[in-house]
């Protein structure tokens, strides 16, 4: 039975749209039916949703960079460069941080200054300020599909403009673009805004325009245990499916232990499929995205290539549908286009060399999958229970109660009582489990993992271990051992 009662009524949305489209002058350019017609007219090879579906069937892993600069011609040049020189299979359009906070006035100022000074003063592409036509030029100018990537609690206007322009994929979600990206925004509000976006994407889908939606998997990017990001991913998949979305890509940020990373990608797919089927959405096309290490990087480019490659290897061996690629400039600042293309090519080489190989099936892998599954189910089931039929309410209450709790998140909606640390093999475990509703044996498991590491290092598990782990990869290690 579909959770249809959670779907927003399109007429109500239409009313809300009239308000949203006036938030910035460019809103008036939006004509979603024309947008849907345009998207339907795109060849399969330029539709994000369909390319991912095809990759899943072929069992291959596609590459996608992050990239966005303020001025439109420069942005198109950048994307073409990444497509041609980086051989990117999929392209992004990364939005600047003012737009993400709906500060279009500051974005306008940054855009103007960037134009005037001939250098970027914004850290991304202010798509709202550019408006529908300019955005359409990005789609027209590229040969592979392009996705909007950002971090916006209220992205309604951004979605309106970019979908109408012909973008076929839109990253984000009411939880994953709030908890790591905001401080004060109530979850009710961001989830409601993202229900609007999902309903809009669903509307395009109804009109035959396939749109891919992707919750932001890595969250804070720093030592997030798989069950935490899986829970958020599954809740957002349900929220999106309820609004009529048919193409969903779920994400996971590399932790660094190959067994854990493989288990994480595999369970993400299986668990989400289960929950979607249970909720009455067996027809959603589910794919996965693996993010190369999202925490602090080494500043040395040669070392950064090593981190990138380990991530590419894990993505290939775990058979993620796509991999989001870091660059050798990660710890230096926003990358040059050359560095970005380098990260892509390094990744592609590793993917190609490993695409005919699989991470070996072992008891340890099965054990890790079981652990992640049990943990994730504990969180998601409790959240759904709290929601009592409303996924949205469940999510809000789960965060309020610390049932789902993201480490290092800036948001006050997040309990902030959990603390992760690596075990002796580098898998990310919990040092503190806060209020996570785990069974006793799971709690014991995490305690034991960290106790064993403590023994190896001759120290008690503590926050110092966490700090050491935060720095570790940047300093050329995985586990932050004391010196």
């Amino acid at each position: 039975m579909k959770n249809l009662h959670n779907q927003l009524d399109w007429d109500a949305v239409e009313e809300e749209r009239q308000e949203v489209l006036t938030q910035w002058p460019t809103g008036s350019e939006v004509d979603y039916e024309e947008g849907a017609r345009y998207i339907r007219s795109l060849p399969r090879s330029r539709n994000f949703a369909l390319c991912l579906q095809d990759a899943k069937e072929k069992g291959i892993t596609l590459t996608q960079p992050r990239a966005g600069v303020p001025v439109a011609v420069d942005h198109l040049d950048l994307l073409r460069f990444l497509q041609n020189e980086g051989e990117a299979d999929l392209l992004p359009t990364t939005i600047d941080s003012y737009t993400r906070q709906n500060r279009y006035q500051e974005a306008e100022q940054g855009l103007e200054e960037s134009r005037r000074e001939g250098r970027a003063l914004l850290n991304g592409f202010p798509a709202v300020n550019h408006g529908v036509d300019t955005n359409r030029r990005i789609i027209d100018g590229t040969k592979v599909p392009v996705q909007i990537r950002h971090g916006t609690p209220d992205a309604r206007l951004l979605a309106e403009i970019t979908l109408a322009a012909g973008f076929t994929a839109f990253e984000g979600g009411g939880i994953s673009y709030n908890i790591p990206y905001a401080k004060q925004v109530p979850l009710e509000a961001s989830i409601r805004h993202w229900q609007y976006i999902d309903r809009l994407a669903g509307r395009y889908q109804e009109l035959g325009a396939d749109i891919n939606r992707e919750p932001f998997g890595p969250l804070t990017g720093t030592l997030v245990p798989p069950c935490v990001s899986h829970s958020v991913a599954i809740l957002e998949a349900l929220l999106a499916a309820e609004q009529g979305v048919k193409h969903i890509t779920l994400g996971y940020g590399q932790c660094g232990n190959l067994v854990q990373d493989t288990a994480a990608v595999q369970t993400l797919n299986r668990l989400a499929q289960e929950y979607l089927e249970q909720a009455g959405f067996p027809d959603v096309v589910l794919t996965t995205v693996f993010h190369q290490w999202m925490g602090g990087f080494p500043s040395d480019e040669a070392r950064a290539f090593g981190v990138i490659s380990v991530g590419a290897a894990a993505a290939a061996l775990a058979r993620a549908t796509k991999v989001i690629v870091k660059t050798p400039h990660e710890a230096l600042g926003i990358p040059s286009k050359e560095a970005n293309a380098e990260g892509l090519r390094t990744t592609k080489q590793v993917l190609n060399m490993l695409k005919d190989q699989m991470f070996p099936e072992t008891d340890a892998l099965e054990q890790e999958r079981m652990m992640i599954s049990r943990e994730t189910k504990a969180l998601v089931d409790r959240a759904l229970e709290l929601g009592d039929g409303s996924t949205a309410a469940g999510a809000v209450r789960a965060f309020a109660a610390g049932v789902v709790d993201v480490p290092f998140a800036p948001s006050r909606m997040n309990a902030g009582k959990t603390m992760p640390a690596r075990d002796n093999e580098g898998a990310v475990r919990f040092l503190s489990t806060g209020n996570l509703p785990f069974a006793k044996d799971i709690l014991d498991f995490h305690r034991d993992c960290l106790a064993r590491r403590g023994e190896t290092e001759g120290r008690k598990p503590s926050f110092q271990m966490v700090v050491d782990d935060i720095y570790a990869i940047g300093k050329g290690m995985l586990v932050g051992r004391p010196r």
Partner: protein, 142 residues
Amino acid sequence: MAEYTLILGVIGSDVHAVGNKVLEVALEEAGFHVVNLGVLVSQQEFIEAAIETDADAILVTSLYGHGEIDCRGLKDALIEAGLDDVLLYIGGYLVIGSQRWEDVEDKFRAMGFDRVYPPGTMVEDFLPQLRADLARQRGESH
């Protein structure tokens, strides 16, 4: 040792929370009284907190690249609020992309920052300098 009060915060629309958390814990351990405003902090919030807590120093973080825009006028506002003797530090990825560090440092010094630290600065890298600056400042102003 007299206790010094430090204000921490990540300025503007920046949400990078991890380094901010690490700084808070490390500076508390180093014996400071730390008032951490977290992420997404406006210029006004920095100033109010400094007045309220009679702070000795403000440590601004900016990682996301808009630091240049976000920090414009901060020093003037501090002076206007009578906080000219509060030490003003900044650290992080202060501009977009990787520019020559000397130029970045000059730019932010000219904007009124007493010390400007590059990406990847560890607490042990700036702690001696901070202690020395604080001691000198207290010596001068008391």
